[in-house]
Every structure is written in structure tokens, then in C-alpha cells.
């Protein structure tokens, strides 16, 4: 497909298979349980026993922090083990371009079902639509900070881990019972990401590695070709980080107000677009400088690089200390029509071979699977060397920052600041 970059989907998979074969030994070692993040906000939301008056979210669920793990309350019974349901459709709710169609097809073939993906643009939109209670999804993709709201609204159902053996067998140890969902009771991890800046190094001459987030506020020459993520937490969080505020879960109205004002200023400087499709527009050259998630850049190379464009023109930067490094997760809809099959689907995606095909064959987001040795993928040129920093190491993950659940007032403050920016 893209001869110039020396990468093709077929080549990627062939190379990837070889990597996987030798990966058994090269698996990442067990990093210690995540340590407390060094946040500036003096530990808001991480104090003591919730029953003793600690902070809770809009549903009354204590706010999970790395040093304050939370077991989400049981709102329904997990499914009893049984044979997977056959026939009909497995209903999935996910971002667009976030699952390899070939993987879906293979799953459908193996389990005698057709897989139907309904897409959302933002997690907030997904929550709103799910809240109506009009949808019956089997598998719902989301992020950890949304889990408690989904539980609080009784929109997801506890999992039977017996039906997802790959969680214990294949997933990074630190994610087998994460602090945001101890057990885990409702979720299994799907992919890892960092949030950073993706840019066209053939068009943008700013020193992004030096400037960091400040780059966007200096992007006046690229007006109209600059974008921020259409995600209330990420865009405001970027404005906070730029000002040196590393507490991504701050609920300080003054800080959030300033973040909104900074975004509005950014809009005046660069007439930014609010988008999540940097993986498509950066390789196409439509956009030159975009806040993106790490996986977007690999997705860009794997699936969207036009013929004649080299992967070398794409660069990625993320904030090493204190920047967002986290994971997305999958859960089961409360009204899942095919609950057993839903478990099988999650288990399927955590199978190392399938996960690898999903990763390097399409989505570009790395799964937290021990047997997948990302370094080897670069060494074997399965993935382009210049985007090596798009992969999340266990060290990055352990020391990274994350957007986590907030109190009702805090969430409202974030969302209102976001609306202020969005309304131009």
C-alpha cells in the first residue's frame, strides 16, 4: 500500500507474527503496583475511607486514585457461565476506527455471529446516549473515569472473570486488578495511550520537543491546520499542563476558568479545530499540528498514509513526567442480549495474537498484553522507528498521570469550562 514507508498491512502482520513467536520470554516484567502520582493539588480526592466523608462522585461512589483503589459497588449479578449465544448480532458501542474490521470478521466467523459496531464521537456523548436506556449494547468501550458514572446509572453489568481467562494469563500485571475498578468487577483493559502532540515535521518548523504544549499557543503560522482533541478532559487538561498544573483531576474553579480562557485564546491564535480524527487528517496533510493520542499516530501510518507519503513526516511528542498516560477499557452493557458472547469477545481481544493483529493491523493502539513486545516491533520495522515514542512502556504507565472520576461539582466545573470554549 505505502511503498515509500516500507510498510504495508500485510508486511506488518507477517513481521508481527514473528515478533509474537519470540515474545514469550521477552514479556515485560512486573513493575510494582502503581505509586501515588506526584500531583500539585495536595491530594484532593484521595483521603481516607469514603464512609468517613471522603469525596464521592455524582453517584456517591468514592473517587478512585492510584493510592486509593476503589471497588465499584455491585449493581447487578454477573452472568452465569454458559455456552456463548449464537446467531444474530453482537452489539458493540465504540469510537470509530478503534477495532480492526478483520478481527471482528474473524470473531464473527468463529462464533457464528455478525458483529455490529455503533460509534460515538466522545465519551460524554456515549454516556448521554446510554443514559437514555434505549440501547442494548453487549460490549461498551469506555475510559476508567467514566466507569463509576456507568455503574451509578446502572448501565453496565459486572463481569464473570472465569469467562475471560486471558485477563489473568496475558494482561500486564498492574492492570489485572486496577485501582479504578478493583477486582476487576466491571472492566477489562483494552489499550494503552499517552496524550501528546502529533505533527507534520515537513510543515511545522516549531521545536515541539522543546516547546511542549506551548507549541499550540505558538502555532499562529499554521492557523486553520491546528487541532485539539474533542474531549472535555483532554483539551482542558492540556491547558492545565501548559501552565504547569499537573493535577489533572483538579476541581479548582479558578484553574479551570483559566484553562478555558487559555483555550479561547488558543482559538484566536490558531483557529483550532476540535476533532478526534488526527489519525486521518495528519497523514492526509489536512492538519499539521494536532493534539492526539499516541495510538492515533501509529493508526495514521498503518491505515491512512496516502501513497507517496513517507511515515517519516509524522512526529509525536508527549509529556514524559506528569502527562496523561492511561488505558481504555471494555465493559458489558446492563441489557446485553448476548452476555456470554460479550465475555468471549473481550477475552478474544485479549488473546495475544488477536490483540497484535488488532494493534498493528489497524488501530495502532497498543494492548497491555505481556507477550507483545513493542520494542521488537520497531526493531523489526513492523512499526516506524520515528514513532517509537507512541508506545507506552510499563515505566511510563506507572509514573503517568490520568484523568479520573471527579465529584459532581468538579465534573460540572470541567464541563462548563469546556462548553465555554466550545461555544466560541
Amino acid at each position: 500500500m505505502n511503498e515509500s514507508s516500507g510498510l504495508s498491512r500485510r508486511g506488518l502482520l507477517a513481521g508481527a507474527g514473528a515478533v509474537l513467536a519470540g515474545a514469550g520470554l521477552a514479556g515485560c516484567e512486573n513493575t510494582t503496583t502503581p505509586i501515588a502520582t506526584q500531583e500539585g493539588g495536595a491530594g484532593e480526592g484521595i483521603m481516607g475511607d469514603p464512609t468517613a466523608g471522603g469525596p464521592v462522585d455524582g453517584a456517591g461512589i468514592p473517587l478512585a486514585r492510584r493510592d486509593y483503589p476503589v471497588t465499584l459497588p455491585n449493581v447487578a449479578d454477573p452472568v452465569k457461565a454458559g455456552n456463548p449465544e449464537r446467531g444474530g448480532e453482537l452489539q458493540i458501542y465504540n469510537y470509530a476506527d478503534y477495532l480492526n474490521p478483520e478481527v471482528l470478521q474473524a470473531f464473527g466467523k468463529e462464533f457464528g455471529v455478525s458483529v455490529r459496531v455503533t460509534t460515538f464521537q466522545t465519551l460524554d456523548e456515549a454516556f448521554t446516549k446510554l443514559s437514555t436506556g434505549r440501547f442494548q449494547f453487549d460490549v461498551i468501550f469506555t475510559a476508567p473515569d467514566h466507569l463509576p458514572r456507568l455503574v451509578g446509572r446502572r448501565l453496565i453489568r459486572p463481569l464473570s472473570l472465569d469467562l475471560i481467562p486471558n485477563l489473568r494469563k496475558e494482561v500486564w500485571p498492574e492492570l489485572q486488578s486496577p485501582f479504578y475498578d478493583v477486582g476487576p468487577r466491571y472492566s477489562v483493559p483494552y489499550t494503552l495511550y499517552t496524550t501528546g502532540i502529533g505533527w507534520r515535521n515537513d510543515e511545522v518548523s516549531l521545536d515541539v520537543d522543546e516547546l511542549g504544549w506551548e507549541t499550540l499557543w505558538r502555532s499562529q503560522p499554521y492557523r486553520g491546520r491546528v487541532g485539539v482533541l474533542d474531549d472535555s478532559r483532554e483539551a482542558l487538561g492540556m491547558a492545565l499542563l501548559r501552565r504547569g498544573v499537573n493535577n489533572l483531576n483538579t476541581e479548582d474553579p479558578a484553574l479551570l476558568q483559566r484553562a478555558a480562557e487559555d483555550l479561547i485564546e488558543l482559538n484566536e491564535i490558531a483557529r483550532v479545530k476540535v476533532v478526534i480524527n488526527g489519525y486521518e487528517t495528519l497523514p492526509a496533510g489536512r492538519m499539521w499540528l494536532n493534539q492526539v493520542w499516541s495510538g492515533d499516530m501509529l493508526n495514521a501510518v498503518i491505515s491512512y498514509l496516502p501513497e507517496g507519503t513517507s511515515a517519516d513526516v509524522l512526529s509525536y511528542w508527549f509529556q514524559k513526567a506528569g502527562g496523561p498516560v492511561f488505558n481504555d477499557c471494555m465493559c458489558m452493557g446492563v441489557d446485553a442480549a448476548k452476555p456470554v458472547l460479550a465475555h468471549r469477545f473481550m477475552n478474544y481481544l485479549l488473546d495475544p495474537e488477536v490483540a497484535l493483529e488488532n494493534f498493528v493491523g489497524y488501530v495502532g493502539y497498543q494492548p497491555p498484553i505481556t507477550k507483545i513486545d513493542a520494542d521488537a516491533l520497531f526493531a523489526q520495522q513492523v512499526l516506524p522507528e520515528n514513532l517509537r515514542n507512541c508506545v507506552v512502556t510499563p515505566e511510563d504507565y506507572a509514573s503517568g498521570n490520568a484523568y479520573l472520576a471527579l465529584t459532581a461539582d468538579g465534573r460540572r466545573a470541567w464541563d462548563q469550562s469546556w462548553a465555554e470554549f466550545r461555544n466560541g
Binding site: G58, G227, I264, V274, A408
Partner: protein, 299 residues
């Protein structure tokens, strides 16, 4: 007459179910509340109504309020889109109704309806390619110096049509809705009795004068009807700015409502804003109905 009244029953039932009930649901949400988990709680009983969100929405759209800028921008963009639509649509409708004959008229009418066969979204996606830096439309517009015209008007900056430019949104609106303007205009122009124009000419009016004093006034109702038909959906449009620009700098009121209703905690505020917009459009609608009533004896 009376015994045929039942024929209206399906229409009335349809309107009741899908308009009145739905509309009242928006009213109930707009005058309702929102939980900590962002669920809107509609207050169905007017005695319970919470006017807080409505007052907030009202304060927001007044000068100096949070949505005032968006409101003004919406009026400006839609106003310009209507002017452009008329500039494009009127001559087309005039030509088809008064000058096209026989087979060519049929072909032209089919062509006018053709855009309806393709989904609005697909047509907008096509435009994002056409207006891209190397797109045909962008090159054609640049070759005709239309870009400098818009640049002079402050609607375009630089030469990147898709870089969050006001004009891209306006052109998108024009392109998307102009067929809805042409069809009613065509119908009204087509109805004008040819003999009236001949009479004007016989009485010494020049071609231009006959048009100005006969055709134009007689097509007033059709023109206004067409404008209403395109203005109403334009006020609720949010995907055209999303697709053609994507920048908050060009966000319209539809985007604001969409932002409130789809993501954030302010669903009730979104509903209240919707009601305010409806009230505003109702005023325009009443003006149209008044004109229509005055025109009727002449028609």
C-alpha cells in the same frame, strides 16, 4: 366538507404524537432539572416548573451574555447564506419556470430534485474534498477570484478554504439548502399568468420594469416561503459547521445546543435555548404568515 374531516385524522395524530408530545417534552426538560449524573429530569406539570434554566438561557443570549456572540454569528451567517441562496436560486427558478420549454424543462426539474437523492451528509463530505487545497472547487473559486471577494468581506483568511473559515460554513449552508428554496420559488413563478407580463409590456413597461413591477411582487410570497423553508433548518444546523469548519470560531447556535444536550451537564439549558430559538423563529414565521395573508387576495 365536514364529512371529509376524518381524512385529516392521520395527519393530526401524526402531528400530535411526533410534534406536540415531543415539543412538550422539550418544554418539560427546559423547565425541569438535571441530576448529578446529568440525567435531565423533566417537570411535566407547569406548576412545578423551574424557570432557572430559562432565565439563564435568556441572560446568555442577550448582549454581553455567554451565547450572544454565537447568536449574532448565527444571524450573520444565515443572513448571508439566504442572500447568496436567493442570488443563485432566483435566476434558476425564473429561467426554469419562464424560459425553459418542453423536454428541457422536464430535464431541468429533474436536475433540481436530483440533490435530494443524495444524503445531506454525503454532499457535505464531498465538499470537504472539493474545497481542500487541491480540490476542484477551491481551484475554480480561486481562478474566478471569488476568493478575493470573500477575503475582502472578511469571511476568508489566507487561501485555506477548510481552515475553519466562515465562508466555508456559509457556502455549505447555501449548497445544502438551495434546492429547498428553488422549488417553492419555481412553483410560485410558474403560476404567474404570462398575460399579466404581456399586459405590462403592452402598456409600455420595459422588460426590466415588467419584471420589477409585475413578476417580483407576484413572487413575493413564494420567495418568502422559500426563505422560511431554508432558514428554519439552518437555525438548527450543527453538522454543516462541524464538517466544513470544526472550529469553535464558526460555531452556530445549533452547535451550542448540541454541545449542551449531547455532552455536558446543561441539558436543561440546551432545551431552554431550543425553546428560545423556537420563539424567535415563531416571530419570523408570523411575519411570513401575515405577508401571505395580505398577498392572498391578489393571488
Amino acid at each position: 366538507m365536514r364529512r371529509w374531516g376524518w381524512l385529516a385524522a392521520p395527519g393530526v395524530a401524526w402531528l400530535a404524537a411526533f410534534f406536540l408530545v415531543a415539543f412538550y417534552a422539550i418544554v418539560a426538560v427546559g423547565f425541569g432539572n438535571v441530576t448529578d449524573l446529568y440525567e435531565p429530569v423533566p417537570y411535566w406539570n407547569p406548576l412545578d416548573w423551574n424557570v432557572g434554566y430559562m432565565l439563564q438561557a435568556l441572560e446568555d443570549v442577550l448582549p454581553g451574555g455567554r451565547t450572544w456572540d454565537v447568536f449574532v454569528r448565527t444571524l450573520l451567517y444565515i443572513g448571508l447564506a439566504i442572500v447568496l441562496s436567493l442570488a443563485i436560486g432566483y435566476p434558476v427558478a425564473y429561467y426554469v419556470s419562464r424560459h425553459a420549454r418542453g423536454r428541457s424543462k422536464v430535464v431541468l426539474l429533474v436536475l433540481l430534485v436530483a440533490p435530494f437523492w443524495i444524503s445531506y451528509l454525503m454532499r457535505m463530505f464531498a465538499w470537504t474534498n472539493l474545497l481542500d487545497s487541491n480540490g476542484y472547487a477551491a481551484e475554480a473559486l480561486n481562478a474566478l477570484s471569488i476568493d478575493s471577494l470573500f477575503r475582502g468581506l472578511g469571511l476568508l483568511e489566507g487561501d485555506d478554504w477548510l481552515g475553519g473559515q466562515p465562508i466555508a460554513v456559509i457556502l455549505g449552508l447555501v449548497y445544502g439548502y438551495v434546492p429547498y428554496l428553488i422549488l417553492p420559488l419555481y412553483a410560485s413563478l410558474d403560476r404567474i399568468d404570462q398575460r399579466l407580463i404581456e399586459a405590462a409590456r403592452d402598456l409600455g413597461a420595459s422588460r426590466a420594469e415588467a419584471f420589477r413591477r409585475v413578476v417580483l411582487p407576484l413572487s413575493k410570497a413564494g420567495t418568502l416561503g422559500g426563505i422560511v423553508l431554508i432558514a428554519l433548518p439552518m437555525f438548527g444546523d450543527y453538522y454543516t459547521p462541524d464538517l466544513m469548519s470544526g472550529s469553535p470560531e464558526t460555531a452556530l447556535l445549533g452547535n451550542t445546543i448540541n454541545n449542551y444536550v449531547q455532552g455536558g451537564p446543561d441539558k436543561a439549558l440546551g432545551a431552554a435555548l431550543t425553546l428560545l430559538l423556537s420563539a424567535f423563529l415563531l416571530v419570523l414565521m408570523l411575519y411570513y404568515l401575515r405577508v401571505l395573508r395580505r398577498e392572498e387576495p391578489a393571488a
